[in-house]
């Protein structure tokens, strides 16, 4: 199956969680995934359950787990914190 390369950026507690699993250090990494993967597949790959991901952007636009990914996409994941 053909592969695509996407950039993943994660922040604060998602970054901390992934770091605990020893995957990435600075919140940014490139991942090779099968073509026709969706954002949700990437989230599953990172072992993040629903209560960890509150906001997704792809190429700086809000997105959803169902969004199909293309080569070169930049995916950002944010946990569901709010301001006060």
């Amino acid at each position: 199956m053909a592969k695509i390369l996407v950039t993943l950026k994660v922040h604060d507690i998602i970054k901390d969680k992934i770091n605990r699993n020893g995957v990435l250090a600075d919140g940014k990494m490139q991942i090779t995934i099968p073509e026709e993967s969706m954002v949700g597949d990437l989230i599953d790959l990172l072992d993040l359950t629903d209560d960890w991901v509150g906001l997704i952007t792809v190429n700086k636009r809000q997105s959803t787990p169902e969004k199909p990914l293309s080569d070169g996409d930049v995916v950002e994941l944010f946990s569901p914190l709010v301001g006060g």
């Binding site: 604060d12 507690i13 969680k17 950002e76 569901p80 914190l81 709010v82």
Partner: protein, 566 residues
């Protein structure tokens, strides 16, 4: 909690009253709404003698439950002209609960010609001359602690409130005595100030303490609730480490971080003012700084912080997202040290950092000072203390500042400045701003963490309606909104806790119905005050001027907004 303290400043008379049956099941914001509806003419002058200030505890106030003792203060707002409630953490609500006081109603206006404070302890209450009149809140609080000991809880205003400025809030102290837990919004500090009241000192020494209907059952269920908070990633990890400042990365990504007077929704220095940067800065500097801090005793979330300078000396505690957004990005200021200094200055004057952040942004937009000039912003805000004309204008909030300076880009609804969420990037919050009886207030129903397409106008009214009810629910229980991240699916358990605490039997459905009824009470108050559906509008520039990056305008139709009240 068995009594109401009524303080009539006109007659210099203090009475203790039993809590009427109709108020027993009401707390916090819902209680203030009902009392104001029952006792004042909604058409009254907000800064006149007929307005009242209601200082209320929530239904779970004083209990063991984490984050359950927020202080609610209600009155008619000089900013919105409508009903207002603002709440904060801190220690005062717990102290009131220990004394068995459900609320304090402050009415009339002093004829003494000098400023007073109210001292409340187990034996009663007394009005005393406030020789600290005119002083900032930090110095004033210090004097009160010196006089009455470190265990008292001062509820107080700064010089802005004493002068009746519309941006004035009312603060109370954190467990370490910092007077930085503000019931900030709506200008309620001015309502207190014009009554000639500088402070209310709650002294819980030798107080009878709170009573439980069923303490063992409460404790058992409370353990389960504590576990939920600990295991939830948001309340157990996110807030304790990064605090509310983490919101900056999210709003920046959504193009909803107000930047340079709401002309942009993302800020080039967002990563220098966000939660991660704040955490790293505080951690690296050490000294008196702390990356986590509880604003009230027993809070497990500990989202607050203590910000220290490069020498490790405390500058301000806490720095919160709204202040970062509005005194920071909205003013083009991308440096936490600058924001911390501005934050302290606003606190000491006793003004709302949201209202002043927006007012300064408007002034910058009109060329009074340049965007990004933190020194000029400091000097401008300092003019509030100096009583210059510009200082007086600024202190009256964003709307008056904008009108005086000839701006047509004033980000307010019902006279009150927007919080740090651009309604073109997060339209659900725009719906809340437009329709809440509170005016533009994010705490009245934040949709920011909902998993919807935030620029799609379609789902926002229903979403805002739901969140407005949730907010009223939390504000009435005395709960911090942040616990809802873990507790929202378990409101039935909160109902049980209420029963074990106070004997009030209710269900999740009844509590939410009560919240909806309280919102209706607020809307009816506003209608009688002359504020109706015609005022449920986002400023015109936000419906026509797209936010860069996503080309989004606020486009939820006005007729759709009216479904909120159905």
């Amino acid at each position: 909690m068995s009594k109401i303290l009524r303080v009539n400043l006109t007659e210099n008379k203090i009475t203790s009253e039993p809590v009427p049956e109709k108020y027993l099941k009401l707390g916090g914001r819902a209680l203030t709404a009902q009392v104001l509806t029952d006792e004042i003419d909604p058409a009254c002058e907000p800064l006149g003698r007929h307005n009242k200030l209601v200082i209320a505890t929530g239904l779970l106030s004083g209990s063991y439950l984490s984050s359950s003792s927020r202080l609610s203060i209600g009155g008619k707002s000089p900013l919105t002209g409508g009903i207002k409630e603002a709440n904060a953490g801190g220690t005062a609500a717990t102290a009131l609960s220990k004394l068995g006081i459900k609320m304090i109603i402050i009415e009339g206006e002093s004829k003494t010609g000098y400023s007073q404070y109210l001292y409340v302890n187990k034996d009663g209450a007394e009005l005393r001359p406030a020789e600290m009149a005119g002083l900032g809140v930090y110095h004033s609080a210090k004097l009160f602690f010196e006089r009455y000991g470190e265990k008292v809880s001062p509820i107080l205003i700064g010089p802005a409130g004493e002068k009746g400025y519309y941006s004035a809030g009312i603060t109370n102290t954190d467990p370490q005595g910092r007077p930085s837990r503000f019931c900030g919004r709506g200008g309620l500090g001015a309502v207190m100030g014009v009554k000639g009241l500088k402070a209310v000192i709650i002294d819980p020494a030798d107080a009878p303490g709170v009573e439980y209907q069923d303490r063992p059952a409460f404790q058992e269920l409370n353990k389960e609730m504590a576990k939920m908070l600990k295991e939830n990633p948001v309340t157990g990890e996110g807030y304790p480490k990064y605090g509310t400042a983490a919101m900056a990365t999210r709003t920046n990504a959504l193009h909803a971080l107000p930047t340079r007077n709401f002309s942009e929704g993302s800020f080039e220095y967002a990563d220098k003012i966000d939660g991660e940067y704040l955490y790293k800065t505080i951690k690296a500097r050490g000294g008196e700084g702390s990356t986590t801090h509880a604003c009230m005793t027993g809070c497990m979330i500990r989202c607050s912080n203590v910000y220290a300078d490069s020498d490790g000396k405390e500058v301000v505690a806490p720095i919160e997202y709204e202040t970062i957004g509005l005194l920071g990005a909205n003013c083009g200021i991308g440096n936490l040290d600058d924001i911390a200094r501005l934050n302290y200055l606003c606190n000491d004057l006793g003004v709302d950092t949201i209202e002043i952040g927006v007012a300064v942004g408007v002034a910058m937009d009109q060329g009074v000072i340049p965007f990004g000039d933190a020194e000029a912003a400091y000097d401008l805000i300092s003019e509030i203390a100096d009583d210059t004309i510009m200082g007086k204008v600024l202190a009256q909030g964003a709307l008056i500042t904008g009108k005086v300076l000839g701006s047509r880009r004033i980000p307010v609804v019902k006279g009150q400045a927007m919080a740090a969420y651009d309604p073109r990037g997060i339209k659900g919050l725009g719906v809340t701003y437009a329709t809440s009886p509170m005016g533009a207030d994010h705490t009245a129903g934040s949709t920011a963490r909902a998993q919807v397409e935030h620029t799609d106008p379609g789902p926002q009214v229903e979403l805002s309606k739901k969140m407005q009810a949730f907010s009223m629910f939390a504000d009435s229980m005395g709960l911090c909104l942040f616990v809802l991240a873990a507790f929202a699916p378990h409101l039935d358990k909160l109902a049980k806790l209420l029963e074990y605490y106070s004997g009030i039997k209710s269900s999740e459905q009844e509590l939410l119905a009560g919240a909806a009824a309280a919102l209706k009470t607020e809307r009816e108050f506003n209608l009688r005050a002359g504020i109706g559906p015609a005022h449920d509008r986002i400023p015109e520039f936000m419906t026509e001027e797209p936010i860069p990056g996503i080309d989004s305008v606020f486009d939820v139709p006005h007729e759709e907004l009216q479904k909120i009240a159905e």
